[in-house]
């Protein structure tokens, strides 16, 4: 069972579409009390970090998320919120991944929109059957600058940044696996199949 946290930051339709394609059972949840012990959690998000943190606070997720033992996948803003701090709005985040969120500096164009490569830093079951340097679809103006110990994958858009992170049961990906064609579905499938 996959549970998707809907806290009003962005559209979850493409994620549910992808899970349908993978034949996974899923439910959309809006409160921490709905989290099941046996579920894997997907934490999406687009928009501004400050606004998203406010909404997480209103719904009681700020205290609940760091305590979870469930396998957990933050996507895009959902990944950025796992860090300690975001430069976007100078806001404190969930503090699960050591590191912070910075704005692109050495890039000609912001936001980054399009397909970029992910180079794997460590082996991980999340990458099963996915070739190193595969292309994934990114849309972001800010990026995660994570402590090296947490980095699973990196991407270069003028600045070299961490595009996949992990701490224990918490994963984060900066790109949108649900919009990254077959390779993205493979990654989501790997997450759904984690034990």
């Amino acid at each position: 069972m996959i549970q998707i946290i809907d806290y009003g930051a962005g559209n979850i339709k493409s994620i549910t579409n992808a899970l349908k394609k993978l034949d996974e059972n899923y439910a959309v949840i809006t409160s921490p009390s709905q989290i099941r012990g046996d579920a894997k959690i997907i934490f999406p998000g687009v928009g501004a970090a400050g606004n998203a943190m406010d909404r997480l606070k209103e719904n009681g997720f700020i205290e609940a998320i760091p305590r979870l033992k469930n396998m957990f996948l933050g996507i895009c803003l959902g990944m950025q919120l796992l860090t300690e701090f975001s430069e976007e709005g100078m806001v404190k985040c969930l503090g699960i991944i050591k590191g912070k969120v910075d704005k692109f500096k050495n890039t000609p164009k912001v936001p980054q929109i399009g397909w970029n490569k992910v180079s794997f830093i460590k082996n991980d079951p999340l990458f099963n059957n996915i070739p190193d340097d595969s292309y994934f679809y990114f849309v972001n103006s800010y990026y995660v600058n994570a402590d090296e110990n947490y980095a699973l994958g990196k991407t270069n858009y003028g600045d070299l940044f961490t595009s996949v992170v992990r701490n224990r049961n918490f994963y984060g990906v900066q790109f949108h696996p649900e919009k990254s064609a077959e390779i993205g579905l493979n990654l989501l499938n790997n997450f759904c199949k984690l034990c």
């Binding site: 962005g10 559209n11 339709k13 493409s14 579409n17 992808a18 349908k20 394609k21 687009v46 928009g47 501004a48 890039t107 000609p108 164009k109 912001v110 936001p111 980054q112 929109i113 399009g114 397909w115 970029n116 490569k117 180079s119 794997f120 830093i121 460590k122 082996n123 059957n129 190193d132 340097d133 292309y135 679809y137 990114f138 849309v139 103006s141 990196k154 991407t155 270069n156 858009y157 003028g158 070299l160 949108h176 649900e178 919009k179 990254s180 064609a181 077959e182 993205g184 579905l185």
Partner: protein
């Protein structure tokens, strides 16, 4: 590209041979495990282990040493040397070896390879092709198989293999640099090619990456300090931006059907936008754009239903445009599954709308579509499907849209639309240089060279086309291959 440090084991020790000659042994360490551990500490994810005695005698003789590494270190390990039977393979793969390397058996036991591929999968089986003077060698490089490289490459492909290790024996172990000319030929086979032999500097590694090899096996150069493994691994992680240029087919929609003729034999119904969207997304499109050309209020509901259907059937991003005038229009399109919306006339009529939309939904999903027409030394912005000249300067308008929060600009040229005479490169370049958000070229694509020009001279980030794809004048993959050959980064 995979960076694969190598460990060769002989009598339990970590050694290197020169050109496969068992009489030219250099010992590097008594304990291969410690070497592997060191490699991992330096950032290696992969490891190449050869049982040299195994290779010589045709059976695995250093299994304990190998398994200690595989079991204790979390590395993707490929193992070769002496694997001759189905059971050898089963035992190694069963214990966590990532893939096994077979060499000589290609010539002695084709059925074994077929069976291994069938049972364990092609990703588990690597064929090592060791070449001396254009001929493939076997049995620890000591015997000429009497097969040419070309014939072996063909055989290997026919066996369903996808990955090979190519070793130029003359280059091996003497740090003279790889045989790049030969490697280029091998790459033409379309197989995933891991190169071994002679890689002796970071420059060699860079060059192999440029050529598009799948991995490189480095041995002696690491042991002798010619290559700093840690630096090599970090350099291998894209040194420059890897963002690719996008190719975007565009579909005009009228009453839930694709208009502007579509000419496909292999689609059940070429007028069905869902079928067409699936076809393009499965054939290399990076994104899709749908424009509702009628855009009447009565049609809105059917448009939302169509968008929903499209989003259920493809998993690449898509933009929907046509007739958007309210935030409610945007909300409904996004909720139906669109990733972005394209706003055209209404961005001109009410520019503040762009600001409000960007604030509500985020700049990343607001594309402003500009219809421009050349008027002496400038370009005017047109609205209402090109019927009304607003006299606004297109370059200034583009900057204004960026300022108000547009995330991307889609630039159409009314002079070029439907002409297949190429994009209006000057218009594109002027706008691309004026703004710091991505620009999508549109109107006029007639052949693959037009795309190259749009990226190189027009400096755009994406190129859109309609009829050139619908009429199968060319395919997306053909364009991408051409662009890639001309040093444009594309997702192949």
């Amino acid at each position: 590209m995979l960076i694969i440090p190598a460990i060769d084991i002989l009598k339990g020790k970590c050694v290197r041979l020169q050109q496969g000659d068992y009489s030219k042994v250099t010992e590097y360490n008594d304990d291969p495990f410690l070497v592997a551990k060191k490699f991992k500490e330096l950032g290696a994810k992969n490891l190449h282990i050869i049982d040299l005695e195994g290779a010589k005698y045709g059976q695995i003789l250093n299994k304990e040493k190998i398994m200690e590494i595989v079991e204790k270190l979390d590395l993707d390990v490929q193992v070769g040397g002496g694997i001759r039977t189905f059971d050898d393979a089963r035992v190694l793969l069963g214990k966590g070896v990532k893939s096994i390397i077979l060499g000589s058996s290609v010539f002695s036991d084709i059925d074994l390879i077929k069976r291994l591929v069938m049972v364990f999968g092609k990703e588990k089986i690597i064929i090592s092709i060791d070449v001396k003077n254009g001929m493939v060698m076997m049995n620890g490089w000591r015997k000429n198989s009497m097969n040419s490289l070309d014939s072996v490459l063909t055989d290997v492909k026919n066996l369903g293999i996808e990955t090979i290790i190519f070793t130029d024996i003359k280059s091996d172990g003497n740090l003279s640099g790889p045989n790049f000319d030969e490697i280029k030929k091998v790459l033409e086979s379309g197989l995933k090619v891991i190169v071994a032999g002679g890689i002796s500097s970071n420059e060699d590694v860079r060059e192999l990456k440029e050529l598009g090899v799948y991995g490189c096996i480095i041995g002696k150069a690491i042991y002798e300090g010619k290559i700093n493994l840690k630096q090599c691994i970090s350099e291998n992680i894209s040194m420059k931006s890897g963002l690719s240029k996008r190719i975007i087919p565009c579909m005009d929609i009228k009453d839930s059907r694709t208009v502007k003729g579509v000419n496909f034999e292999n689609l059940k119904d070429a007028g069905d936008p869902v079928e067409l969207a699936k076809f393009y997304s499965e054939n290399g499109a990076d994104e899709l754009v749908f424009l509702d050309v009628t855009a009447t209020i009565e049609n809105r509901k059917t448009l939302y239903e169509l968008v929903e259907k499209i989003s259920e059937n493809i998993n690449i991003p898509f933009t929907v445009g046509g007739g958007i005038r309210t935030r409610e229009d945007i909300r409904r399109l996004l909720n139906s599954g669109a990733d972005k919306v394209a706003i055209c006339s209404y961005a001109v009529i009410n520019p503040e709308f762009i600001k409000a939309a960007a604030k509500d939904f985020g700049s990343q999903c607001i594309v402003v579509s500009i219809d421009a027409k050349r008027n002496n030394n400038r370009w005017d912005v047109y609205i209402n499907g090109g019927r009304l000249n607003t006299r606004l300067d297109a370059i200034k308008f583009a900057k204004k849209m960026e300022f108000l929060g547009a995330g991307e600009l889609l630039v159409n040229s009314l002079d070029r639309d439907g002409t297949k005479t190429g994009y209006d490169i000057e218009l594109l370049r002027r706008i691309s240089e004026a703004v710091n958000i991505p620009v999508i070229a549109s109107s006029g694509a007639g052949n693959k060279k037009d795309f190259l020009k749009a990226f190189n001279e027009g400096r755009v980030d994406a190129a859109l086309a309609a009829s050139i794809f619908h009429y199968k004048k060319t395919t997306i993959s053909e364009i991408k291959k051409y662009l890639s050959k001309n040093n444009i980064t594309v997702r192949l």
